[in-house]
């Protein structure tokens, strides 16, 4: 490993932070989903890096399961989003406030 593992982990931290900022500032539900995908990928990178550092495959298998869960999450989330758009004609998360007290 000529590149130190810390460099990979710093990149992972940067991507996770970008995803967090995206969730905080954007209001289009689609882009919120993409920011969540960004955070999931940052965590995946940390898993793969540490699997390499410890020469242990468990980290790579965790990434496999994260991939499966992310796929299901995106499918269900996007179909709910299409539903919301058809009934309310918006995907702005500030507009969908039926449960606001």
């Amino acid at each position: 490993m000529t590149v130190p593992a810390a460099a990979y982990l710093l990149l992972s931290a940067a991507l996770f932070t970008l995803g967090t900022v995206g969730v905080l500032v954007r209001r289009t539900a689609l882009i919120l989903f993409m920011s969540i995908e960004l955070m999931l990928n940052a965590v995946n990178l940390a898993f793969v890096t540490l699997a390499r550092v410890h020469a242990n495959l468990d980290g790579q298998l965790a990434v496999f399961f994260v991939l499966v869960v992310a796929a299901v999450e995106v499918v269900v989330g996007l179909s709910i989003l299409v539903h919301i758009f058809r009934s309310r004609d918006t995907v702005d998360v500030d507009e969908v406030d039926l449960l606001r007290g």
Binding site: A7, M34, R52, V63, F65, L67
Partner: protein, 178 residues
């Protein structure tokens, strides 16, 4: 060589991440996400995770991003976020908080001891990952297949039922009147 590959991929993925967050059009965000996913696949290859690199390209870049693009096409979203946010100052608060989060995470990362172990041959190959998956991780694997089935059923149910019309869409001028 490996350093160059890492530098290029890292720069591309950070640029893509900024693009996801800052792009004005959802399509540009989706394409930036594709850039992030592709450069992460390259990084997985340098980390001896070839099976995951292939999976990343097929599942993430091939399926999830395409799904995003389809939904963007279906929603034909009007120019998004044109009106000012009802919660002001999100950017000015989120950026310092994000910087603080990154500083904290970096501090935690730099506490880790350096150095890595020797890799056994075939580490991260499809055969090695598959062997683990079908022996020690068999039960989680079966549960994951059940989860995928739930996802399929949910997508079919949500996609085929008519949209509920009982909720009146909020009028565009509603917020200005209030």
């Amino acid at each position: 060589m490996e350093v160059l590959l890492f530098a290029v991929s890292a720069a591309l993925s950070v640029a893509g991440g900024v693009g996801v967050v800052a792009a004005r059009q959802p399509v540009h965000s989706a394409l930036s996400l594709l850039l992030v996913l592709g450069s992460l696949a390259v990084l997985y290859l340098t980390l001896a995770a070839e099976f995951l690199a292939v999976l990343q390209v097929i599942v993430y870049a091939g399926a999830i991003v395409v799904l995003f693009l389809f939904v963007i096409m279906l929603l034909h979203a009007r120019t998004p976020e044109s009106r000012p946010s009802p919660l002001g100052g999100q950017w000015s608060l989120a950026v310092p908080l994000g910087a603080a989060l990154w500083a904290g995470l970096s501090y935690a990362v730099l506490q880790l001891p350096a150095g890595s172990r020797e890799l056994p041959p075939e580490f991260g190959s499809t055969e090695a990952v598959g062997r683990e998956l079908f022996s020690r991780f068999l039960l989680p694997f079966e549960v994951a297949s059940l989860l995928l089935l739930v996802g399929i059923v949910a997508a079919v149910v949500l996609g085929s039922s008519p949209a509920p019309s009982s909720v009146p869409p909020r009028s565009a001028s509603g917020r200005e009147e209030a």
